[in-house]
């Protein structure tokens, strides 16, 4: 066994020093509204993170691709049709399920070296060479340098960056303070009930994190205002979620999505688990909030396997929902369903009676049968795929609007293009609670996108908003910072105000109702 282990590690390292090779376009086993653009088949991996750099006055974009076995490949994706490896980090450990994140503000790559699931022996390399979390300086892409390693974390499965200086591991959850990345400190376990597979921070309120629990049905809302001392503030149970896997919130913090790894890796009946949606913003159900999530419905991939029979085991193996991600500016998600491939789903509304996957409605209980929320927009299934993650690259460039990046232990790194209808973007319209001198103010901006300075909310300047209260409406223009001021000459006291923006060709119309106080 040990000899085999060494051989596997050697093979992995050998692969690492070879240039990544591109490949010919595969013929999809199944696809709709998606096409294959490019691929680096040797980058067989499990996760990726993104970052941006200004190089010689030009903006360049990169993916840090977690590669099974040896570490991370840094891939230039400025031209998504021609991804090119520009750097490589050989981790001192080896990993089955490398989870890679980029702290863009600090130019630090954070990656795990995880435990190999005993049940997956044969698919992966047993590590034992340094399980833990590794912090890598990627200021020089051609020569990444390890800053520090925290060992002894029982093989962290996934990571979540909490603020700029802390990272949480999962299964189990340790808290690592890497304020000094050269001497990162293990703060120990989080409280025991902060137990789950996936942790993510609320995109508009960084003091809140969501955790897909490690018990069937459970998920949690956690106060991370002090990242070193997370505290569960509410726990939730949904009887339909068999194996909570990831908990992710839409860019506007309106909807919480919990995925279900139903049946785990060995589930062979498609579609397996789905994604369960909860209103946490009150947009759909009055009273819904992060601590009072209200179920909107569930989406399942409309795919019933090679035999087209949801009740039959598929000869190709794993079929359940592994990873998903939400678009930075659209209510659009990507879903990775192992051998069922990758999917694009519009999560803005309940499932329409007719849609692009209408053909699956002909067979009750197959795919669309149990789906009640969201609408499938497209899919891609490469031959032999074992889709782990599809990712949007959250850059401010139209070239990425229809581009998704796929990572798979079998297909490697792939670039796919969505060709179907693109939902409008959502915008961040906020209203100040205080209305000095009777004037209502606020801001119209975009939800954060990734820049070389980290995630940045860019303004929507020069737009007209309508501000109404008590029968009076005032038009106001947004300035260069996206700010607007509308003098409604409000009297002293509280006032109900409605601010609307009609949107434009890219953004949907938005409206906010708020209570403002004029002194």
């Amino acid at each position: 066994m040990r000899r085999a282990l060494v051989a596997l590690i050697a093979a992995a390292l050998a692969a690492a020093v070879l240039p990544a090779a591109s490949m010919a376009a595969p013929v999809a086993v199944a696809s709709k509204h998606m096409e294959w653009v490019a691929g680096l088949p040797t980058l067989t991996g499990s996760s990726m993170g993104f970052f941006e750099r200004e190089v010689d006055g030009a903006v360049r974009r990169y993916a840090a691709v977690g590669v099974m076995g040896y570490g991370v490949e840094l891939v230039d994706i400025t031209d998504p049709s021609s991804p090119t490896t520009v750097g490589r980090h050989i981790s001192p450990g080896v990993s089955y399920h490398t989870d890679v994140h980029v702290n863009t503000a600090r130019d630090i790559l954070v990656m795990n070296v995880d435990r190999v699931p005993l049940t997956n022996v044969g698919l992966s390399v047993n590590q034992g060479l340094g399980p833990g979390v590794e912090f890598v300086d990627i200021a020089d892409l051609s020569a990444p340098e390890t800053l520090g390693v925290v060992p002894g974390l029982e093989g962290p499965h996934k990571l979540a960056l909490i603020g700029d200086d802390h990272v949480y591991t999962t299964l189990p959850t340790y808290i690592i303070d890497y304020t000094d990345a050269e001497q990162p400190e293990n703060l120990g376990y989080a409280e025991p009930f902060l137990c789950g597979h996936g942790i993510s921070v609320d995109p508009t309120d960084p003091t809140i994190a969501y955790v897909a629990g490690c018990q069937p049905r459970n998920f949690y809302v956690v106060d991370v205002s002090d990242p070193a001392r997370p505290r569960i503030r509410s726990e939730h149970q949904d009887v339909d979620i068999q194996t909570p896997h990831d908990a992710i919130v839409t860019a506007d913090s309106s909807v919480l999505a919990i995925s279900d790894l139903r049946g785990d890796y060995f589930n062979t009946q498609c579609p397996g688990g789905g994604i369960h949606f909860f209103d946490i913003g009150g947009d759909h159900i009055v009273g819904a909030s992060p601590d009072n999530p209200r179920k909107l419905g569930t989406w399942f991939a409309p795919y019933t396997g090679a035999r087209n029979d949801p009740n039959a085991s598929d000869p190709h193996g794993s079929c359940t929902l592994h990873g998903f991600q939400l678009n930075p500016e659209r209510l659009l998600l990507t879903s990775s369903n192992y051998m069922a491939g990758g999917w694009l789903v519009d999560v803005a509304a309940q499932t329409a009676p007719e849609g692009f996957y209408e053909e699956y409605r002909a067979e009750p209980g197959t795919g669309l049968g149990p789906t009640s929320w969201a609408n499938t927009m497209g899919n891609w299934l490469s031959p032999g795929d074992l889709s782990f993650y599809l990712r949007w690259a959250p850059f401010d460039d139209p070239v990425y609007e229809r581009t998704v990046f796929s990572i798979s232990p079998t297909q490697g790194f792939e670039v796919l293009r969505y060709t179907g209808p693109l939902p409008e973007k959502i915008s961040d319209l906020t209203v100040e609670r205080s209305a000095p001198d009777g004037a209502v103010s606020g801001r119209l901006g975009r939800y954060p996108l990734l820049t070389d300075q980290g995630r940045t909310s860019k303004p929507l300047a020069g737009e007209q908003v309508s501000v109404s209260s008590g029968g009076t409406t005032v038009e106001a223009a947004t300035d260069a910072a996206g700010r607007f001021v509308a003098d409604l000459s409000l009297g002293s006291g509280s006032h109900q105000v409605e601010v609307t923006w009609e949107g434009d060709e890219d953004f949907r119309a938005e409206s906010r109702t708020a209570t403002v106080v004029s002194p």
Partner: protein, 304 residues
């Protein structure tokens, strides 16, 4: 407030419990400190002063020792539940004490040793609101030690499950190593209860209303229920303090039934009908807070 429940006054306390499960949670007895009766204005005027003790411990249910997961190996972790109790120990505070009995208390986590155990007690109040009481010894995460942690989560059912949100952090949480009791004080207001409210068990997890959850295998990759009580008797919040008085010829049994007027300082007064026949009479008063009662008697002469 006439007395403060302290260790110094414990010698006055009732030792309550049942059989082998008795422990040393103390409840002071109710005492009638003063009782007077006199004939005046065609009636028997009764007055007095009461020091009310708290409600005695109400055993709501028991759970067999040793029936937890892991047997002798896990018992020292504090997972083996043996009973559930509630009582109202101090009449001057609108606070119930929830007590969980365990075979052994969990050890205090050492530096670097994660705490793995949480006690959960899920209950409803008047069948309308649902609550989850959570207690941990320190809520420690290795180097970060807190004092004992207790919190009350309110749970709201939904079509497909429920949501429990922390409503209040409890200040009175105690682990009593001498008698194997974990307890937390919850005010009536915090749990939305009032006098006369009924606290009932609630099995929200499907495994029991009172349960010990812990990370399994020391890796915190699974939260497992190690022991659970499937249910327990309902508990009714006491209505409060009361004093009843009665009168009977000396030598006969008095059945106090006339409700006295009780003021905020626990001084009471009552007017009893003047007996038609002259003689010596016994006036009796019974003062109760819940089931903690005291009686006192005093003689009064009724002139011809």
């Amino acid at each position: 407030m006439k007395r403060i429940i302290t260790a110094a006054t414990a010698c006055l306390a009732l030792l309550v419990g049942s059989g082998a499960q008795a422990h040393e949670t103390v409840v002071l007895p109710t005492e009638i400190v003063a009782l007077d009766a006199a004939v005046a204005d065609g009636a028997v005027a009764v007055s007095g002063d009461v020091a009310f003790g708290g409600q005695t411990i109400q055993d709501l249910g028991s759970d067999a020792a040793g029936d937890h997961t892991g047997g002798a190996a896990t018992s020292p972790l504090g997972v083996d539940l043996t009973g559930a109790q509630i009582h109202w120990p101090d009449p001057d505070r609108d606070e119930l004490l929830f007590e969980i009995r365990v075979a052994e208390l969990p050890p205090a986590p050492l530096d670097g040793t994660p705490e793995t155990l949480q006690y959960n007690w899920d209950f409803t109040v008047d069948g309308t609101t649902s609550w989850s009481l959570k207690i941990m010894r320190t809520r420690v995460s290795a180097t970060q030690a807190d004092s004992a942690y207790g919190a009350l989560f309110e749970c709201v059912p939904s079509d497909s499950g429920f949501s429990c949100s922390e409503q209040v952090r409890l200040s009175e949480v105690e682990f009593r190593p001498d008698d194997g009791v974990v307890r937390a004080g919850v005010s009536l207001a915090q749990m939305g209860a009032k006098r006369g409210s009924v606290v009932s068990s609630w099995d929200r997890t499907g495994s029991g209303a009172l349960w010990t959850g812990a990370s399994a295998g020391g890796q915190q990759t699974l939260i497992a229920t190690y022991d659970a009580m499937s249910g327990h008797a309902s508990y009714t919040v006491p209505l409060g303090r009361s004093v009843v008085v009665g009168i009977a010829p000396s030598g006969e049994e008095v059945e106090p039934a006339h409700l006295a007027v009780l003021d905020a300082d626990d001084l009471f007064t009552a007017q009893l009908d003047l007996p038609s026949e002259a003689g010596t009479y016994t006036v009796a008063a019974e003062a109760c807070f819940a089931d903690n009662c005291a009686t006192g008697t005093v003689d009064v002469e009724v002139a011809p």
